[in-house]
């Protein structure tokens, strides 16, 4: 009998915990509790706030009283990831070079999306940084909270959608260059079977996959694109595995969006007759045998004028969307595998997209279930582009649980 009791000691302890907790939590009405707001509560609605606030933007003075302006970048990956974070850090270096001694830049890399973000921001502010750039979607809630707590610090956020008086958003029309890269891919494919590695089924990535596929089919009308979702931003091993799986299925050209490493290029290089359009950075020299071209970001095109505004005392919040015309997005140099004819076709289309960003999404466009999305001649509005949730005809795959 006694023994039986002891046997259940762990179970009893577990139960005791639960009871203890009730007692513990019961007195939360007392003055001792400082109920912190949950880090996830969005202060604004979920809709993208693309229109300017009605009472006009407020000028935020975040320049230091004396000494150089301190600006910091918070990265989700390592600065040598060969992709997303590397492109951001190249922009930081460009900012540093442009302003010289007037600005002192720093960065924090490999910051996971979690409580670490808020702590890192606090730490940067304690070090005297007054302009803070966030470069991963998952940092957004922490940035919104920090912006509310530090009205005298300017927050600049890439790829998000929430703005406030001292938090601005910036990103750009990568879908245009994705489309052009798709043209190179479509022209290069012999089998007509292409593969696309995508990170998360979110509008930004869906838009890229659709634009790339439309580019492919502009050059190769019968081609199909198999899309796989990796559910990660940066996982070279997983990216490579997925690329290898696509190659095993007979795909001869690979593209990617949202996954930050050039691991897909490694998989393509290891196979024979497989070509690759990259993402984020120019890798033409590192992967010469498989390289076609890529979308590249030039974040400094936005960041340098913004820092200048801080120094001038004219910084206000905003929602910037760069494009081919202002040089925020560019098409990387072509690889040897892109023929002269294809280059000419892409260059011609590039001029059109430069004049009319996003115009590749002009009807007739059908989704891959056969429904008409856009009638002939009709174009998507900006908001429709920003909330895209269908896959175009020619894509073998689906948006999970859409």
């Amino acid at each position: 009998m006694k023994r039986t009791n002891k046997k259940f000691a762990p179970v009893l302890l577990t139960a005791a915990f639960a009871i203890g907790l009730v007692a513990c939590g019961g007195d939360d009405g007392g003055s001792s509790s400082s109920s912190e707001a949950p880090s996830t509560e969005a202060p604004t609605s979920e809709a993208p706030s693309t229109e300017a606030p009605s009472d006009g933007p407020v000028v935020v003075d975040c320049a230091p009283e004396e000494g150089p302006l301190k600006a910091a970048w918070v990265y989700v990956g390592p600065t040598n990831d060969g992709g997303w974070t590397q492109a951001h850090d190249e922009a930081r270096l460009a900012v540093q070079e442009h302003f010289g001694d007037a600005v002192e830049t720093t960065y924090k890399e490999n910051v996971p999306e979690g409580p670490e973000v808020a702590q890192t921001i606090e730490d940067l502010i304690a070090d005297g940084n007054t302009v803070i750039f966030g470069t991963s979607f998952g940092f957004q809630d922490a940035f919104v909270e920090a912006a509310a707590a530090h009205p005298d610090v300017c927050f600049e956020f890439a790829t998000g959608y929430m703005t406030s008086d001292n938090m601005a958003q910036f990103y750009g029309a990568a879908e245009d260059t994705d489309y052009l890269a798709g043209m190179a891919a479509g022209a290069a494919s012999k089998t007509g079977k292409l593969g696309y590695l995508a990170s998360f089924p979110i509008p930004e990535v869906v838009r890229g996959a659709n634009a790339w596929t439309m580019g492919v089919r502009a050059m190769n009308p019968e081609a199909t694109v198999k899309v796989v979702w990796l559910n990660t931003w940066f996982d070279p091993a997983k990216e490579k595995q997925a690329a290898e799986a696509l190659i095993a299925e007979g795909v001869d050209v690979l593209g990617q969006k949202g996954v930050d490493s050039p691991a897909t290029g490694d998989a393509a290089s290891a196979a024979t007759g497989v070509l690759w359009t990259g993402y984020n950075t120019d890798q033409s020299e590192n992967y010469p045998t498989v390289w076609l071209t890529a979308t590249t970001y030039h974040w400094d095109v936005y960041e340098i004028p913004r820092i200048q505004q801080v120094l001038d005392g004219t910084w206000t919040t905003g929602n910037y969307y760069g494009n081919l015309a202002d040089g925020f997005v560019k098409l990387a140099p072509y690889g040897d595998n892109v023929s002269a004819e294809t280059r000419a076709a892409i260059d011609a289309r590039l001029e059109e997209l430069k004049a009319a960003p996003g115009s590749e999404f002009t009807g007739p466009i059908k989704d891959n279930k056969g429904n008409e999305v856009l009638a002939d001649g009709v174009a998507h509005t900006f908001d429709e582009l920003m909330s895209m949730a269908y896959l175009v005809e020619g894509i073998d795959g689906e948006i999970p649980a859409s």
Partner: protein
């Protein structure tokens, strides 16, 4: 030719070694780290000062260290509880996810219950989810003698896939239907938010208090109950335990379930005290379960020490982010952190063994 130095098992382990060795290990790590820093052109004193200032000293730094420490305390206890019986539970990571899934379910669903009861229900759900998930590993081990290292590790990946499925690939109960920009979970109800107390200006999450309570309870369980005694007998000699009539199979399952319950409680704390939702992507980036194994190893499987080591690692992690930058690569931060962990684990051997020179031994034989 024989090595001039060899290790000899200590017949008895003097008590003072238990504190002297870790202390010397830490000093050794600081000295080695200083050499590395000096070689890379940094001033070691400045760097150590900054680690101390940003990781531990001051109210804000220590509050941050506690926040970082809380999940590690739970996963550390999870690993320590199983190590005590010689079971290597690598599955704290997956059990942590499962606990978060269970607690988020309660946190989203509750309406009308007072906060205290809600917290208790979330803890209970976290523990139940975590313990069932770990008990599967235990049953496989007890009934089929499957290697728990491999099964528990594999189940981490399964739990990760389940997280992705719930948030990214399905319209599950957890998924927020009103977030077209990015798939994420519903927020837990406002009254399901756990408290953070301010004690002498230090922000103490209630989850950390629960972790301390759990540490003491585990210590009591293992030191003062028959169950704890049986566990240590099994750990020393499973054969002897069976002769003594101890039912090893069911003990394996119970210990793993308890281990999983602790990790699951950590998952509940992550949802309730910190993130306020089921963060499928963030959780998989954090890797609390794996760090917990390091915490338990450093704490030499002692549940009370585990809590302190968690604070130490938490502060070190926090200081690490504050150290790195353009002139201080994050690889160097990792090297410093690695040195401390390495010397601590290496020091462990000096508690069990002592160094003997072969020369003096030969002399003794001659005499």
């Amino acid at each position: 030719m024989r090595s001039p130095i060899r290790l000899e098992r200590r017949l008895e382990q003097p008590k003072w070694l238990n504190w002297a060795v870790p202390l010397i290990s830490l000093v050794a790590a600081l000295v080695l780290g200083a050499i590395v820093l000096w070689l890379t052109g940094k001033n070691p004193i400045d760097v150590y000062h900054r680690i101390f200032e940003r990781g531990f000293a001051g109210k804000q730094a220590f509050s941050g260290a506690l926040e970082m420490a809380t999940p590690l305390a739970f996963t550390g206890l999870c690993a320590a509880v199983a190590f005590r019986m010689g079971l290597i539970n690598i599955g704290g990571e997956g059990q942590f996810y499962m606990g978060a899934i269970g607690a988020a379910w309660v946190g989203i669903a509750v309406s009308g219950t007072p906060t205290g009861i809600t917290i208790a229900l979330m803890c209970l759900a976290g523990m139940v989810f975590g313990s069932i998930y770990a008990a599967i590993v235990g049953i496989l081990r007890a009934k089929f003698n499957t290697n728990e290292i491999i099964t528990s590790l594999m189940m981490n990946y399964l739990a990760g896939i389940l997280l992705n499925y719930l948030i990214f690939n399905s319209k599950s109960y957890w998924r927020n239907p009103d977030s077209p920009q990015f798939p994420k979970s519903k927020n837990i109800a406002a009254r399901a938010d756990w408290n953070t107390y301010k004690i002498f200006g230090i922000e103490m999450p209630i989850a950390f208090l629960i972790a301390m309570l759990a540490g003491v309870a585990i210590w009591f369980l293992y030191k003062r109950t028959r169950f704890g005694f049986e566990v240590s007998v099994i750990a020393d000699s499973p054969k002897a335990a069976r002769y003594a009539g101890i039912r090893t199979s069911s003990t394996i399952v119970i210990v793993l379930a308890l281990s999983g319950a602790l990790a699951g409680l950590g998952g509940a704390a992550d949802v309730g005290n910190f993130r306020g939702l089921l963060d499928a992507k963030g959780l998989q980036m954090a890797g609390y379960g794996y760090t917990g194994i390091v915490v338990a190893a450093l704490a030499r499987r002692n549940p009370i020490t585990t809590i302190f080591v968690a604070i130490f690692i938490g502060g070190l992690t926090k200081a690490g982010y504050s150290l790195q930058g353009p002139d201080f690569p994050s690889g160097l931060v990792g090297t410093l952190q690695g040195l401390i962990l390495f010397t601590a684990v290496a020091g462990e051997i000096l508690i069990k063994y002592r160094l003997r020179t072969n020369v003096s031994r030969a002399g003794a034989v001659v005499a």
